[in-house]
Each structure stands twice: as C-alpha cells, then as structure tokens.
C-alpha cells in the first residue's frame, strides 16, 4: 500500500476523485462520464494499482469538475464500490458512494436478440433491480432481463 501512494497520481486543488474502480472498468468509467471529451480539465488516472479490496484497482482525478449525482451514479453499473471525493482547495469536502440508478437509459444493450432495440436505432431503457448482489436490468421494451455482464455498457 505504501507503494500505491508513490505510484498514485498527484493531488488536485479542486475537482473530483473517483477511487476504488475495478481496474478492468477504468475505460468504461472514462467513457460513461465522457472524460475523453473534456476540453480544458486536467484528467489523470492510475491503472492496475494494487488494492486489498479489489485486487487491482483504478483511480481517476478530474480537475475543476463537479458531476451531477445522476451522472456519477451511471458508473455504479461497472464500478459498484466506487468512492467519490469532492476536493476543494486540496481538501476533501465531501465523500460519497455511488448507488445503482433506478432507470438506465441509452448506455447498455439488451441481450435479447429479438428485442426491437437491437434492430432499430432506439436508446435502450431499463429498470434496475439487485438480486443476490448482482445488478439486473429489465428492458422497458421487451421486458426481458439482462445481467450486468451481458449488458455491454458503452
């Protein structure tokens, strides 16, 4: 863990730190939050950092950016244990966890090959539920359930 501090990206003055992202979900989080499309903000990330909880984790620091809760909750689908630190003037002023949103719109595929959303250009819509610790998405069109591994979050 000492090593991690050395390897971690440097502190930010103002912005948002997203910690405890499973390493394999880093790039999905970047894309879900559109971090690859930011014009001015400095974004730094650490990848494959050792973590007792997750094995390998990732961390993202975004300067001068404060997200809406609803925006951040999207990442609960790929990083359910993510921890958010809101930083102002180098200090953590707020900590929160992500929670699975009730509705998921336009960011996941329905796994039913006969669902209309896989044949026409329609933003997908799901209601979420959690069974046995797994997140399940129920399609608002075909009513079939897609588990999170098959949802191909994009």
């Amino acid at each position: 863990m000492e090593n991690e501090k050395v390897l971690s990206v440097s502190a930010i003055e103002n912005g948002t730190v997203i910690d405890h992202i499973p390493a394999q979900s880093l790039f999905k989080v970047i894309s879900l939050l559109n971090l690859d499309k930011l014009a001015d903000n400095q974004v730094t990330f650490g990848y494959n950092l050792k973590s007792k909880q997750l094995g390998m984790k990732a961390i993202i620091k975004v300067s001068e950016k404060f997200f809406e809760d609803i925006e951040l909750d999207k990442i609960a689908l790929v990083a359910p244990n993510a921890k958010l630190n809101i930083i102002k003037n180098y200090n953590v002023v707020e900590k929160r966890l992500v929670k699975v949103p009730e509705k998921v719109i336009g960011i996941a595929h329905c796994m039913n090959p006969k669902c209309i959303t896989n044949h026409e250009k329609i933003p997908t819509k799901f209601t979420t539920s959690t069974t046995g610790g797994n997140i399940v998405l129920r399609c608002c069109y075909c009513d079939k359930c897609t588990d999170i591994e098959h949802a191909e979050i994009f």
Binding site: K114, I116, T117, H119, E120, C140, Y141, C142
Partner: protein, 302 residues
C-alpha cells in the same frame, strides 16, 4: 395525456378488465353498432396471422369503421428498408387507431411512444398479446358466470406460451387456483411461480394429464412445439402425452370448458370437438366482441 394504448396486459387494471367484460357482453347482444362511423383503423401485420387480423377487421366493420393496412410487408416500404418508426409516424397521420403485430419483442411499446394515435398490440414476438388474454377472460366469464374462485388447469407449453403467462397474471386478481401440467422441459418459469406465491395464490404442478384435469373449471390447452426441445428424442417421448381425448373428459366437472388459443395441431383430438365441454371455436367467436370492446375503450367512444 395518459397514453391510451394497450401494449401489455399489465397496462390494464382489474377495473379495466371488468369494463371490457361488460362492454363485450353488450356487443355480443348487439354486434352491429355504428360507433366507428367516419373512423379509420389501420391493421399493420408485419408478420402473418389469420384469426387475430380477421377478427379485428370484423370488429371494425361491424362498428361501421373503415380498415386500411397490410397483412404482408412484401408489398410495402418495409421491404425497401423503412424503419418501424417511419412506418408508424406515417400511418398515424392516416388512421385514428393502429392495431399492429410485429415479430420483434417490444415493437408495440416503441410504436406507442412515437405514434400520435393509440396502439393496440396484436402480438409482438413471444412477448405480449393482451387482446388474446382479454378474450380468454371473457370466455371464462361467459361460461362460468364469474371470474372469481375458479380452478384453472393449464396444459402443454407453459414455459414459452405467452397466452399462459398473461392469463395467469390477469386471473391473479380473482382468487383462482391453478394446476400446471407440462413436461419437465416446458414447466412454468420460476418468476411466475414467485409471482403467485407473493399473492398467496394456490397452485400445483403435474407432468400427467389424467386424473389431474378432473377438478378443473377451465382446461386451457396449448401446443407443445417440436422446436422448443433441444433434444428431439425428448419431444418424441412427450408429444402424445399432452393430447386431450374425449374419453379423458368422462370424469371431469359438468361445468368445465376447454379453451385453446388456436391454431390447434394435434393436442386436442378431433373427437372432443362435438363434446359440449369443448369451447375453443366459440372462444374464437368471442374474439370479435372482445375486440369491439377494446377498440371502443381505446378510442374512448363509449
């Protein structure tokens, strides 16, 4: 404005079911009424169907409305690659109501989101077929005099049969008890059993028909389809087990009626047809009255 479309059986409440039962009974007494005078109903059948389309068109004609539409997409812009969205947008300019059947699941829900006029789902793949469910309810009500406290026995493909699942959900409002008779491969899915348990509705499961049909008020037969079996040998083993024969009805209740959503292949032997307990052809006739009721309710014309 509340969307008046009927896409899934769950779009209707218990009161809605009862309203449809009431209206259908009125149309049965007096089927020809000029309620749809000047109205145009589009029937868009993106996949073929005989009974459903003809009974809808019969219902519209008896109400004095006009029908336009297609029963085969090969002569339409769909074959040129037109999207469902564009087809629905266009047709909703020409008609007051759209009745549609589509091979893809969720197609009717999507259409209801983009259409200016209400949608009645006449089947979207294996997903929903709510008007079939309502005509099943009407047939049950008409033959038993009530929907309450009945013993419903369902036979055949209980895994994939969409009519089975919808009927089970709809009947759950009326304190039924169920008996499910199916081969192992085609048993009722767990999610529906959970649904029944949550509502304290009694049910039993069997793999053999006789004598488990003897206490039924309604025997709801469905087709066991060869293509549902991964192993063709398994199909050969069960294909003749779920066939209802006239002799099997000897010890059944005098009030029992046999329903089947049709088409039938061999799961009801033809010697049952003349038994007064057979009701599937009358059930098909009830389709017209029930669909008259659904059309009028959807267009808020009564």
């Amino acid at each position: 404005m509340k969307n008046r479309s009927l896409v899934a059986i769950s779009d209707y409440s218990k009161d809605d079911y009862l309203e449809i039962m009431e209206l259908a009974a009125q149309f049965e007494k007096n089927p020809v009424q000029k309620i749809l005078d000047g109205k145009v109903v589009a029937t868009l059948f993106f996949e073929p169907s005989t009974r459903t389309r003809l009974s809808f068109e019969s219902a519209v004609n008896r109400l004095g409305g006009k029908v336009l539409g297609f029963s085969d997409t090969s002569q339409t812009s769909v074959s040129k690659g037109e999207t469902l969205k564009d087809t629905i947008k266009m047709v909703s300019c020409y008609a007051d109501l759209i009745v549609m059947r589509h091979p893809l699941e969720g197609a009717a829900r999507y259409a209801s989101e983009i259409s200016k006029v209400p949608i009645i789902n006449a089947g979207d793949g294996a997903n929903q077929h709510p008007t079939q469910c309502l005509l099943d309810l009407y047939s049950i009500k008409k033959t038993q005099g009530t929907l309450d406290n009945l013993k419903i026995t369902m036979v055949g493909d209980l895994k994939y049969g969409r009519t089975v699942h919808s009927l089970l959900m709809a009947m759950s409002y009326f304190n039924p008890s169920f008996s499910f008779i199916a081969p192992e491969e085609l048993r009722l899915p767990d999610e529906y059993k959970q649904f029944l348990k949550q509502r304290n509705i009694k049910f039993e499961e069997h793999t053999e028909m006789a004598p488990n049909i003897n206490d039924a008020d309604i025997i709801y037969m469905t087709r066991v389809q060869r293509e549902r079996f991964a192993d063709p040998l398994e199909y050969e083993k069960v294909k003749n087990v779920y066939v209802l024969r006239n002799s099997m009805l000897d010890n059944t209740k005098p009030n029992v009626k046999i329903l089947h959503p049709l088409p039938r292949v061999n799961e009801i032997s033809t010697d049952v047809d003349d038994n007064p307990k057979a009701y599937y052809f009358e059930q098909a006739q009830n389709a017209v009255y029930t669909r008259q009721a659904i059309i009028c309710k959807t267009l808020q014309l009564l």
